[in-house]
């Protein structure tokens, strides 16, 4: 099996499995006042401190959630509602065109149900939001923006956004800035306080921790309207019994991932370079998408002319090679990627794409396995692509 879908989820690190398993055998609700509760609470708080240290935040700024999607929803809706509560005119949300659906969809929902004015920030051919784009959006009306949300690095094409510059502009206009850094944490240097971000999303299972646990890092004084009401466990912003085993695994994973980040990023970018080069040699009409230099170290994303990504994926799957079309799956039917469309690709090209993503377990053998079968598979998918009835 050649697993090249680490951007979807990556194997749990041994440290995470150990921490998670140890805690699974224990009893205790972190909110309980007795000894068992105190013990569980200690695990959670120590994990919070580890995570804060790994991400350059203060422990109090870590809000545990059920994962990236919840963190993004909390940030987008929570910041929008809080901004409007203070100033009813703050209705505009600035969001990049290449966000994950976990950001885009709550933003669109606010547009449909909560009077938000959604402004999608266009991107260049590499998928970047240019600083002047954001500035222009503010200049239209400097006073009505509730929040800005731009991801740190794109999950599909790997392009890294100029986050520090964008944050600076938003702050000139005294507007809060959220960034979905799910793909960035553990791969790039992400330091919450240094970038000046107001809120940042990341999640356990992309850094070698368990699925179903994540965090929103939110400045201590940031006003957030809660989505989940109940016991108020997390700063009264997020309710629900804390999942101590998952949090322990999450903390162990991110601590390990961040401490080994530079070495791993260097190793992955060599694999990336190797695969990109070999794909281009063996499938000359394949087109690399995203920023060729400034991209996630483990991300390789190509369009294969005349092929359907789904057909490529199926044929590779049959050969034991696991990758992704990178496209969101709406109602079970693959849609052309909104990211590629936003980057100026046509629908056919958008449907012809594959993402290979490397992670901790990847080696050059994985690259060789792909290259061994890819040219024949592309040829076959091209033939299949011609059979479909065209508009």
């Amino acid at each position: 099996m050649t697993y090249l879908d680490h951007a979807a989820t990556t194997p749990m690190l041994a440290e995470a499995i150990a921490a998670l398993s140890a805690e699974l055998a224990q009893v205790g609700n972190p909110s309980s006042l007795h000894a068992s509760g105190r013990r569980a609470r200690k695990v959670v708080e120590e994990s919070r401190e580890k995570i804060a240290a790994a991400i350059g935040a203060r422990p109090i700024e870590v809000i545990f959630t059920g994962g990236g999607t919840e963190s993004n929803n909390l940030a987008v809706k929570g910041l929008y509602w809080a901004a409007r509560k203070k100033d009813i005119n703050k209705k505009r949300i600035l969001v990049s065109a290449v966000e994950h659906h976990a950001v885009l969809d709550p933003v669109m929902w606010l547009g449909e149900h909560e009077e938000a004015t959604v402004e999608i920030l266009p991107v260049d051919n590499y998928g970047r939001v240019l600083p002047e784009t954001l500035r222009k959006a503010f200049e239209k009306n400097p006073h009505d923006v509730a929040l800005v949300s731009v991801m740190w690095a794109n999950n599909e094409v790997g392009t890294i956004q100029p986050i520090a510059e964008l944050v600076k502009i938003a702050h000139e206009y005294k507007t809060v800035f959220h960034s979905d850094a799910v793909q960035a944490v553990g791969c790039l240097e992400v330091h919450f306080q240094n970038t000046g971000l107001d809120a940042l999303t990341f999640t356990g299972h992309k850094v070698g921790g368990p699925q179903g646990v994540g965090a929103l890092i939110a400045k201590r004084d940031l006003e957030l309207t809660p989505l989940l009401h109940g016991g108020g466990q997390e700063r009264d912003v997020r309710s629900g019994t804390l999942d101590a085993p998952a949090i322990a695994g999450f903390a162990a994973a991110i601590t390990t991932a961040v401490s080994q980040r530079v070495a791993r990023a260097n190793r992955l970018s060599l694999l990336r370079k190797d695969l990109i080069q070999k794909v281009q040699e063996n499938v000359p009409d394949a087109v690399l998408n995203g920023d060729p230099e400034n991209r996630l170290p483990g991300n390789v994303h190509f369009s294969f002319k005349g092929c359907e990504g789904d057909a490529l994926l199926m044929l590779l799957d049959a050969q034991g090679i696991e990758c992704s079309t990178g496209s969101a799956c709406s109602a079970g039917i693959p849609q052309p990627s909104h990211v590629l469309i936003a980057m100026g690709k046509d629908e056919t090209t958008a449907r012809s794409s594959l993402r290979f993503s490397f992670g901790s377990t990847s080696t050059h053998d994985d690259v060789d396995s792909v290259i061994q079968v890819l040219p024949a598979i592309v040829e076959r998918a091209k033939r299949a692509g011609k059979t479909m009835v065209k508009k």
Binding site: M314, G332, I333
Partner: protein, 359 residues
Amino acid sequence: MTKKVVAAMSGGVDSSVAAARLVDQGYDVVGVHLALAKVKGHAGGKGCCTLDDARDARRVADRLGIAFYIWDVSEEFQQEVIENFISEYAQGRTPNPCVRCNEKIKFQAVLERSLALGFDAVATGHYAQIFETPNGPTLHRAIDNKKDQSYVLSVLNQEQLSHTILPLGNSVKPDIRKEAEERGLITAAKPDSHDICFIPDGDTAGFLHNKLGQEPGKIVDVETGEELGKHDGVFEFTIGQRKGLHLEKPRPDRSPRYVVGTDTKSKTVMVGLASMLRVDVVTATNLIWCGPTPDSQFDCTAQVRAHSNALKAKAFHKDGNLTVEFLEPLNGLAPGQTITLYDNTRVIGSGTVVTTSRS
């Protein structure tokens, strides 16, 4: 070498068992659910292509331990089946969308794609049988007469049949349900689908009005020319129809009247007595032979609906045109319907009805 087969899995009981049998028979099976319509959100629960159906199909594939994918053929389906359905009705014909779907989607777009991707065949849960003969494959009725679906498959030529597997043709439906249950398939108790899948509420007239708008016209007595009522679109009416005419005047003898013809140009619906529906000469085009090309003239039985009886007839064909003379007249046959010719249980071929008359 092990044959690689795409099992088209609708999420119903039949295609589930079909896939299971293929796995048992040692084929290298991949389950494919065809997304025929882009549905967002919740499922209607009826017909094909709902989210629930895709999920059920996926769960069956899990159970069988086979790979499973969803293929989006919604554009092809929209163009080749739904648009065709609407335009056929607009031109006063009565199409069979299931026949069309088999001809253009399942055994054309999907089959061609499968072959190009390196598969050897497509399998479905249709009730019909394919037999290999020295003259190539032939299509036969299923052993379950009630479920037999050879009519809707009578648009497959030998090339298509040679890449088609129908694992259920030698079984009866109750056994299939039992088998699904014994195999622990989640679809064992799912009800059969009946309606046109893209019109889940069964309101074809409403669907057509939605697409074609209001096209009011007159309902006239075909013998006297007398106006007997009004209608909102000739596409609401099919030859042989009795219900929903809302005629203002009954006949003096109270005998029922039926739609005997429509004219899309003058937007007129003609009604007349049952006897006027009786026809025994039918011409057809779009001929497809499901086996070797027959002689230019032959005896056969002919069937004009999915589940009507096949009636004795003589068939003549020349240059792609077919004439069928029934020994006894039959009632209410509309242009656009598929006429399928049988030699006992074997499907000889089919055509699309162009004209009907009384000799």
